[in-house]
């Protein structure tokens, strides 16, 4: 057995003003030649653990040894043998690619031919050779991530620490980075890759699963998957329009600990030794377990399928015409076309997902749909109202939940509710009723006097949803609604959304999470401002099905379709 690079024993770290410790008695070790996934939702303690290893934080109790050096007393020695890429990559945006590398090389006394060789190798490795003179700030998210990695690798580290390298990066860049890190392992480097994407965890050699500062699991992902083996099922062959209802009913059944929509199927995790409930329609098919199934299992199961919120929402009137009608929407900023001739319709009670790599034009489309940006060409209607001429009427039909929840951190829960309900034109008795209702539905009573900024993430999420639906909108716009939250909270969120959709609310969502995209009835895939494919999740998967790829995931579909479109563009350009 090889010597571990990092040995952690009984680590506890508490921050001032927090009642719970950020890390609570964590012991583990990290082996060379492995990618160790540090997995858990936001606030689980991932960043804290990494910073403790770097020696940037000091623990309250317990020890860390990195390469035999004590992280508390010998941080200088540790800095010589590690490479660290913090969140946001830690690049100087006003320096060029090569200047960033130069800077890190100088800090590590790398010079002469060794330096040149290293640069050539890293630039080649990261595919940045052609962009040496470009300012780091002008690089795409994926390229920044690669440059950050290159900077961290300059000192030929024994331990590479990557803090959420895949946040805000599209699946394509994520895959590329993964492949690059995989290549490094042959040299015997130890890699710690922290992530809140559970699907990334499955690919790691070893996984440390954290939740609320506690270590829930430590070991190869396969062993964890083994714990739910034989308990994961899909219900196939149900009518597509009824899958949400079937899911809701299943979640109420005894023995069902988790369920999610997966394209036209439903994925169910059963409790140990419990028989599957009987089905009125469709049939059970055994499927491979996922990491997330195991995580939910450890946490003691999902939140159930009941939505108090949806009960309180009045049925939206039936409509023949699409609720959202977008025709030839185009937005140009100067010479740059951010969105080109985008056309789609969304029917009442449909969930429509907008997917695409970073910078593809998702946010721009979204902002035009909310009336925040004026389109250069084309029109958009919400419930028949033209967003250009009837902006404010149209907006009052919309509930908008922005990225990162956009709550007022310095206002408490009630004040936030009051403020947002006021914005949406609620007043007097109706306002009070709605606020009380939201407090009851989302169980906010105990947190009423807490500032939104200090709420636990799950409650922030609830509060943000409450603020967006208080005025009973016909349409909900969700911009990356669950990024970073734990799977339980995410399920709770989708339970509400699904139940509201059943009542006729129309939903448009952007996301980087593929499992979130699975909830969509239809997806519009956007690349370089253009809609390159529209269809149900299963339609998109079918488009890329081949002999090599018999059972493509939605992520496979995403990557392949974008790649195809990229090749077509190149062909056209050369022709």
């Amino acid at each position: 057995m090889t010597e571990p690079v990092v040995v952690i024993e009984g680590l506890t770290k508490r921050f001032k003003g927090m009642d719970k410790p950020a890390l609570d008695g964590v012991s583990t070790s990290i082996l060379p030649g492995h990618i160790t996934g540090l997995v858990g939702p936001d606030g689980a303690g991932k960043t804290t653990l990494i910073r403790l290893m770097v020696g940037l934080l000091h623990a309250e109790a317990g020890t860390i040894a990195v390469g035999g050096f004590n992280a508390r007393t010998q941080a200088e020695a540790i800095h010589e043998i590690i490479g660290y890429m913090p969140q946001k990559f830690g690049l100087y945006e006003d320096l060029t690619v090569i200047e960033n590398l130069d800077f890190h090389a100088d800090l590590r006394y790398l010079s002469g031919t060794a330096r040149k060789e290293k640069f050539d190798k890293l630039l080649d490795f990261t595919d940045l050779t052609a962009f040496q003179r470009r300012l780091a700030g002008k690089l795409s998210g994926g390229m920044k991530q690669k440059l950050g990695l290159a900077c961290a690798l300059i000192g030929t580290p024994k331990l590479l620490l990557l803090d959420e390298p895949s946040v805000g990066v599209d699946p394509i860049s994520r895959r590329e980075l993964w492949a690059m890190v995989q290549e490094l392992l042959a040299g015997g480097i130890a890699v710690v890759w922290s992530t809140s994407y559970l699907d990334e965890a499955e690919k790691c050699d070893s996984v440390i699963l954290l939740n609320e500062g506690r270590k829930l699991y430590d070991g190869p992902p396969a062993d964890l998957l083994g714990s739910v083996a034989g308990r994961t099922w899909q219900i196939r062959g149900i009518d597509e329009s009824r899958r949400r209802t079937v899911l809701m009913n299943m979640l109420k059944e005894d023995g069902v600990i988790d369920g999610v929509v997966q394209g036209r199927h439903i994925r169910i995790v059963m409790a140990k030794d419990k028989p599957k409930p009987l089905l009125d329609e469709g049939q059970w098919t055994a499927v491979e377990p996922w990491f997330e199934d195991a995580f939910i299992d450890i946490l003691g199961g999902g939140p159930g399928g009941h939505s108090k919120l949806a009960e309180q929402i009045s049925e939206k009137p039936l409509q023949d015409k699409p609720v959202i009608d977008v025709q030839g929407l185009t937005k140009r900023f100067g010479d740059f076309t951010a969105v080109h001739n985008n056309t789609f319709q969304i029917r009442r009670g449909e969930i429509f997902g907008l997917l695409g790599p970073n910078g593809a034009g998702k946010s721009t489309t979204f902002k035009m749909m909310c009336g925040l940006l004026q389109p250069t060409e084309g029109r958009a209607f919400v419930t028949g109202l033209d967003l250009k001429t009837a902006t404010s009427q149209a907006r009052s039909r919309i509930g908008y939940m922005a990225q990162k929840f956009s709550l007022y951190g310095n206002l408490n829960v009630v004040q936030n509710l009051r403020f947002f309900s006021g914005l949406y034109g609620l007043s007097g008795r109706r306002q009070k009723e709605q606020i009380d209702l939201m407090i009851e539905i989302f169980d906010l009573k105990e947190h009423l006097k807490m500032n939104a900024g200090t709420l636990p993430l799950g409650f922030k999420q609830r509060l943000a949803l409450a603020c967006a639906v208080m005025h009973q909108p016909d349409v909900l716009f969700l911009d990356e609604p669950t990024s970073g939250v734990d799977p339980i909270t995410r399920r709770e969120f989708w339970t509400h959304i699904n139940a509201m959709v059943e009542k006729g609310v129309t939903v448009m969502v952007t996301t980087h999470f593929m499992d979130e995209a699975e909830y969509c009835d239809r997806i519009g895939l956007i690349y370089r401002g253009e809609n390159i494919a529209t269809g149900t999740p299963d339609d998109l998967k079918k488009l890329v099905q081949s002999d090599q790829l018999q059972n493509p995931t939605l992520e496979d579909a995403f990557v392949t379709l974008v790649h195809r479109s990229h090749l077509e563009n190149q062909l056209q350009e050369t022709a």
């Binding site: 940037l56 200088e76 890429m85 945006e93 130069d102």
Partner: protein, 372 residues
């Protein structure tokens, strides 16, 4: 040493590329000097007053001439104060001087009590006192001339006051405002800019990635200090040139003395900036602290605009904490008086002590840690 050069090179590149840094160091001084050179003027020349002559005699005619000839006053004549009341209320004139009906009689009788009435706007005490003083001055001069005309020797009047002002003979406020404003500019560069650029590194996560390399804290701090020190001296040179060449402010000291004083002050200002950035890790908080702890004291407590000796005693004591107070004194001395070494050495020693305190605190506070 190589690390330090790398840090300095990186910082210099950032300075050169970030237009805002450059604007703060070189364009802003020009704007500030322009404002303090032309816009702000604490002298009041040509105050408009209304002169009410109720008593029209040859005696008063010469007094009226004395008023109209004054180079400090712009006089409008009238017969009745009511003509001017409205103008005073709306601010067209700043005061009313009344020559009463019995003025010539009183003069002739030489009772010793000759009355003039001065009405001024008490809402603007500064201008009101100007009105009062100028009126008094005009009358004094007029009385002397009258006495001489009548053949009485000037000695008949017991005291004559002949004011003479040293160092700033014309009493131009520009001459002490402009050197003072240099202190403000140096504060902005030294404290505000340094605090901002370091907190920017915290915000963007570059500080964190730098801390995970073998670089030491001293190197990081020096890597910030040196470029901004050089920039401060550059900005100082520009300011001095503009002051002396464009604004005709005299410079009576020597350049080495100016360089010495500036260097010591920049150390203190940079030290304060570094200390702020070790406490505040985002740009907004850093700029707020820099504003409260450096910029506002530079403006209000440095003696630049408000005379320190006329402040309440506790505030006077407080001013000693701020290096800028000593810098303003040094600058005003160097520009208007010359190398007054005892004073300059006192000031520089004080600034040095303050900078040492800042550096001691900074090295204590700044560690390669995020939770220290």
């Amino acid at each position: 040493m190589r690390r330090l050069t790398a840090l300095i090179r990186k910082e210099t590149r950032q300075i050169l590329r970030d237009p805002s840094t450059f604007l703060i160091a070189f364009l802003q001084p020009l704007i500030l000097l322009f404002i303090f050179g032309y816009g702000v003027n604490l002298d009041s020349n040509k105050i408009r007053i209304g002169l009410v002559v109720e008593d029209n005699t040859p005696d008063t005619a010469s007094l009226v001439r004395a008023f109209t000839n004054s180079r400090f006053l712009e006089v409008r004549l009238g017969q009745d104060r009511r003509e001017f009341e409205h103008d005073l209320v709306i601010g067209h004139i700043r005061g009313i001087v009344v020559i009463p009906q019995d003025f010539s009689i009183d003069m002739a009788l030489q009772t010793g009590a000759v009355n003039l009435q001065v009405i001024a706007d008490g809402a603007e005490p500064n201008i009101a006192s100007f009105v009062q003083n100028y009126t008094f001055g005009v009358v004094q001069v007029w009385l002397q001339h009258e006495a001489e005309d009548r053949g009485q020797s000037a000695a008949a009047l017991p005291i004559r006051v002949l004011p003479r002002f040293w160092y700033n003979a014309e009493l131009k406020s520009r001459n002490f405002l402009v050197p003072g404003s240099i202190a403000i500019i140096m504060t902005l560069i030294g404290t505000m800019l340094t605090a901002l650029v370091i907190s920017r590194e915290w915000e963007r996560g570059t500080m964190e990635s730098m801390m995970a390399t073998p670089v030491t804290i001293t190197q990081i701090l020096l890597g910030k200090l040196i470029p901004y020190f050089v920039m401060g001296i550059g900005s100082m040179t520009l300011c001095t040139l503009v002051c002396t060449l464009v604004y005709d402010v005299p410079f009576r000291g020597t350049y080495p003395a100016l360089l010495a004083a500036t260097s010591v002050f920049l150390l203190a200002a940079l030290g304060q900036g570094l200390l702020i950035s070790s406490v505040a890790k985002d740009q907004f908080v850093a700029s707020q602290i820099a504003l409260m702890a450096a910029f506002l004291p530079a403006l209000m407590l440095s003696g630049f605009i408000f005379e320190i000796h006329s402040m309440p005693r506790p505030i006077q004591l407080l001013t000693h904490v701020f290096a800028v107070r000593y810098f303003v004194t040094s600058l005003q001395t160097l520009f208007l008086t010359g190398n007054v070494w005892p004073l300059l050495i006192h000031c520089m020693a004080a600034m040095l002590v303050i900078s040492m305190v800042f550096f001691a605190l900074t090295t204590r506070k700044t560690k390669k840690r995020l939770d220290a």
